[in-house]
């Protein structure tokens, strides 16, 4: 059976990383994982491209669809949208159900979940990325199961 540690790319990367000085507060300790010489990954995060004005996240149409949004990338570089990322605005705030890479100059429909049960009306035409909000990725919370496990 394949495991993550058998993946060549993972092994190569794991050999280069180092751990930084732990930071402790209120019983929470975070150890930075440091990756030497950063290489341009070939993508930007959603908040970066929204700030540049080269992308837009919106409802799929005027009526909207709770589990789906549209991302339009008008830029020259791909956009990485992260699993659990919160999108605020439009008819209802949502979170991403999975990590998605949107190629340059393309539009994609992305799977999302509602995280604002009491609103279904336009507040803005397009979405912004929450500065703080996110939900842990699939399978890492007690009840949030966002892939095939919960669809049967």
């Amino acid at each position: 059976m394949d495991t993550l540690i058998n993946d060549v790319a993972v092994r190569r990367t794991a050999g280069k990383i180092s751990l930084g000085e732990p930071v402790v507060r209120d019983g929470l300790t975070i150890v930075p994982v440091l990756d030497p010489p950063a290489v341009d990954p070939g993508w930007l995060l959603l908040d970066e491209v929204l700030a540049l004005g080269s992308a837009e996240v919106s409802e799929v149409n005027e009526a909207g669809s709770v589990p789906t949004l549209t991302v339009r990338n008008e830029g020259d570089i791909a956009i990485l949208l992260l699993d659990g990322e919160e999108l605020i605005g439009a008819k209802q705030s949502r979170i991403l159900n999975t990590t998605v890479l949107v190629p340059a100059h393309q539009s994609l429909q992305i799977p999302v979940s509602c995280v604002e049960v009491g609103r279904w009306g336009y507040r803005t035409r397009s979405f912004q990325v929450s500065a703080r909000g996110s939900m842990p990725p699939c399978g890492e919370t007690r009840r949030f199961r966002c892939t095939t496990r919960c669809t049967r």
């Binding site: 589990p67 049960v117 009491g118 609103r119 009840r143 199961r145 966002c146 095939t148």
Partner: protein
């Protein structure tokens, strides 16, 4: 075939539980209101635990 459909009811349950445990009442049941209500505490954590070069 794989889908990326959520268990929406479970997510709403989780959000309601989270809002209750943080004593936040949101008029629209919005997750972001929980974060907003505690933004000063979160800002402190971000200051100390924020991303660093490397």
């Amino acid at each position: 075939m794989k889908t990326r459909t959520a268990n929406q009811g479970a997510i709403w349950d989780d959000l309601a539980e989270t809002a209750l445990s943080f004593l936040v009442a949101s008029p629209t049941g919005a997750m972001t209101d929980v974060f907003e209500a505690h933004k000063s505490v979160l800002a402190e954590y971000q200051l100390e635990h924020g991303a660093r070069p490397g």
